[in-house]
């Protein structure tokens, strides 16, 4: 496939691996921010191949994983209402809330539908004027423009039975949170290419300066990731801390301006709780006052849901990069994709799922256990 297969070329990837190994004079610690990058790294075994030259720590950039339990429980409460059609991207459906997940709500009669775009949810609202249609607006800056567009269009078209349950988060405050942690080991970042396709990289320039860390805007295929790693390693070796762009085929410094403008018109920065990271000030997006009519939390009066957070799952440590998934005592035993303790084991971008789905054989082999 053009623009894809060339970024999966094994010969190119292996050559890059060689250059990384030659360039690194010590073992550097890098964090890939995005869960999509984590999956490529684990799926292709890049972390193993890099062993010795670079340690990859997996970052908090999985939108499903960092959505707090409280928001999941609000989604479940809405989905269970007989007057609501609840719409969501697919990978939120199996994320466990306090008592069940969206798939289970559906099996009990709740109207839960997978959509591929929030505009599809808007179409459902137009087709079912007798129902309230709620869309679960989760994600980083990548999904924010489409979600903003759905709200904008709803107002434009006068579709009153549409609302969004917003749990948007943004990347730069998460990078700050990782770097501010007293036990931080991360020396450089691969920033998430798709987020930067929308936002550009101007927000990362002050971070690179303030914390003196290299940040390389990076794509998602093996060649992208290895090239991003090489660029970061070169910076570290040369004592530089700049923002560089590996993903030049998709990202420019100022991003996609019309998309950013739309996001800014519909959303504003709010404090947001992150699963595992706690409340980070001004780290999320919420609807602006003038769009409050489309806010599901306002419309359905959801403010009162409060949940206790059980402790066995170590998603927080995984999302902060403190531990790798197999270091969790529940990994692969009490926590599997079929019976997840937390979102990182379910999401297609979750670090625990990546290790479980692609890495179990390696873990078993390393322990000398067949199967």
């Amino acid at each position: 496939m053009k623009y894809l297969s060339e970024y999966r070329d094994p010969a190119v990837a292996l050559a890059l691996l060689g250059r990384i190994t030659q360039t690194a004079t010590r073992r550097w610690v890098l964090m890939e921010v995005c869960g999509g990058q984590t999956h490529t790294i684990v799926r292709q075994g890049l972390d193993q191949l890099l062993e010795g030259a670079v340690e990859m720590i997996h970052g908090p950039g999985c939108p499903v994983c960092v959505t707090p339990l409280e928001q999941i429980d609000k989604a479940l409460a809405l989905a269970g209402r007989p007057d609501v059609i609840f719409t969501s991207f697919g990978d939120m459906l199996r994320v466990p809330g306090s008592e069940c997940d969206l798939l289970q709500v559906r099996s009990r009669g709740g109207a839960v539908r997978i959509v591929y775009s929030p505009l599809d949810a808007l179409d459902i609202a137009a087709a079912h004027p007798d129902k309230e249609v709620v869309f679960f607006a989760v994600g980083f800056e990548t999904t924010a423009p489409a979600n903003a567009m759905a709200v904008w269009r709803a107002r434009q078209l006068g579709i009153r039975n549409f609302s969004v349950l917003v749990s948007h988060v943004t990347v730069p405050p998460a990078i700050s949170a990782v770097l501010d942690a007293p036990d931080n080991r991360v020396q450089g970042f691969l920033a998430a290419g798709h987020v930067c396709t929308v936002m550009g990289w101007t927000e990362y320039e002050p971070l690179a300066r303030r914390y003196r860390v290299p940040i390389v805007v990076t794509g998602f295929e093996p060649v992208d990731i290895l090239e991003g790693i090489l660029m970061a390693v070169r910076q570290l070796e040369e004592g530089r801390s700049e923002v560089e762009n590996q993903y030049a085929r998709a990202v420019t410094r100022s991003g996609t301006v019309p998309a950013r403008e739309l996001v800014a018109r519909v959303f504003c920065l709010v404090d947001r709780a992150w699963r595992g990271l706690g409340v980070i000030p001004r780290s999320g997006l919420g609807l602006r006052e003038e769009f409050a009519a489309f806010d599901a939390e306002v419309r359905f009066g959801l403010g009162s849901i409060r949940v206790a957070e059980p402790e066995e799952c170590r998603a927080g440590d995984v999302l902060r990069g403190k531990i790798k998934p197999p270091a969790c005592a529940a990994f692969g035993t009490r926590c599997t994709p079929l019976h997840p303790l937390g979102a990182p084991m379910v999401s297609s971008e979750g670090a625990c799922a990546a290790y479980y789905n692609y890495g179990r054989y390696r873990v078993a082999a390393a322990e000398g256990v067949a199967g």
Partner: protein, 349 residues
């Protein structure tokens, strides 16, 4: 929530109700059969959990198979629920080495189904049976109230004759066997997904729905007893089918990522939706585990028929990791290709 609180819920074990995932062909489906059906129905024939049941009759053995079709939408590029119902059961018989001699068809029709639609489906069904030269010899119809069925459901049951010298079976995989696959992966699943309401990406992907009997006949005559296992990787895709074989045979299977054959339009649609074509359904592809000595003959046999013109070697049966499927990645790493719990869920971004 404080900055140090770790936010994860207790595990949820849904034991009370059927979920859609129980029909996905993944590990939830396996648990449903193991925990609810086998304890009551279990017997030596059923316990083998093969595509069809080999039953002794005076004078020899026959193979029986049954399958129920609930596909939505009823019609999709490359076929409809009728042709699919014929191909599906014929293929299940063929995977046991059976040569089909007759089919039955049972219909659950929903009040309000337009005759014009029903007739299209029946015509496609008849055409598929005629092409395979297998008559539909008995049938049944029931009608349920509007809203109680999704247009129509079809069950087909087939009877096939067995050749005692050609007995492929899921537990017969042996170390050293090659894994052959008769065609490109993922066309049926992506054609249906593209046609499904609410997913309007522009595509020309057509279902691969077809009778595999001619391919199996070619394998029988040219590779014979060297064919150890046959499986049509329908729901759950090639990954799930090979996992079942690995478990049934107690062997490890290693796939080669570089060998994977996926049509470019299917690959593009899967990329867009975040799906892995290894888990997408096929309805006109077979996987065969073949002894090394018979592999060349088997590959030539598959390629001798238009349906198998693109037949490829997917991997081999290995000594290590019994019961598990792994894939040698293009970069030389080895990763697990696991059984999914339920359906693949399209990702956020």
């Amino acid at each position: 929530m404080t900055a140090t609180a770790l936010a994860c819920p207790v595990p949820i074990v849904e034991t009370e109700r059927i979920q859609l995932g129980h029909g996905s062909g993944g590990s939830l489906s396996a648990a449903l059969i193991r925990n609810h059906f086998l304890p009551h129905f279990g017997n030596p024939v059923l316990n083998r959990q093969a595509d069809g049941a080999v039953v002794s009759v005076p004078g020899g053995e026959v193979v029986l198979s049954t399958d129920t079709f609930v596909v939505s939408p009823l019609e999709f590029p490359g076929g409809n629920i009728g042709s699919l119902a014929v191909h599906g059961t014929l293929n299940d018989l063929a995977m046991m080495g059976g040569r089909p001699i007759g089919l039955t068809a049972g219909f659950v029709l929903e009040e309000g189904l337009p005759f014009i639609r029903l007739d299209r489906i029946i015509r496609a069904m008849a055409a598929a049976a005629r092409e395979a030269e297998v008559p539909i010899v008995a049938g049944d119809t029931k009608v349920v109230e509007r809203g109680k069925a999704d247009g129509l459901y079809v069950n087909t049951t087939g009877l096939g004759l067995l050749d005692s010298a050609f007995r492929p079976s899921p537990e017969r995989g042996r170390v050293g066997d090659l894994v052959l696959v008769s065609g490109a992966l993922g066309r049926h699943g992506m054609a249906v997904m593209a046609a499904r309401e609410g997913l309007a990406f522009e595509t020309t992907i057509t279902s691969d729905s077809a009778s595999l009997c001619p391919l199996v006949e070619a394998l029988r005559t040219r590779a014979g007893a060297g064919v150890h296992v046959l499986r049509d990787p329908t729901r759950g895709g090639l990954a799930s089918a090979l996992n079942e074989i690995a478990l049934a045979s107690g062997v490890g299977i290693e796939l080669e990522e570089r060998a994977l054959l996926v049509p470019s339009d299917v690959a593009a649609a899967c990329e867009m939706l975040g799906l892995d074509p290894l888990y997408v359904a096929n309805e006109g592809v077979l996987a065969a585990l073949v002894a090394p000595s018979a592999a060349d003959a088997a590959l030539a046999a598959l390629r001798s028929h238009p349906l198998g013109a693109d037949a490829w070697v997917a991997g081999r049966v290995v000594d290590g990791h019994p019961g598990m499927v792994a894939m040698r990645t293009a970069l030389g790493g080895l990763r697990v290709v696991d059984l999914l719990p339920g359906d693949q869920l399209p990702r956020i971004c």
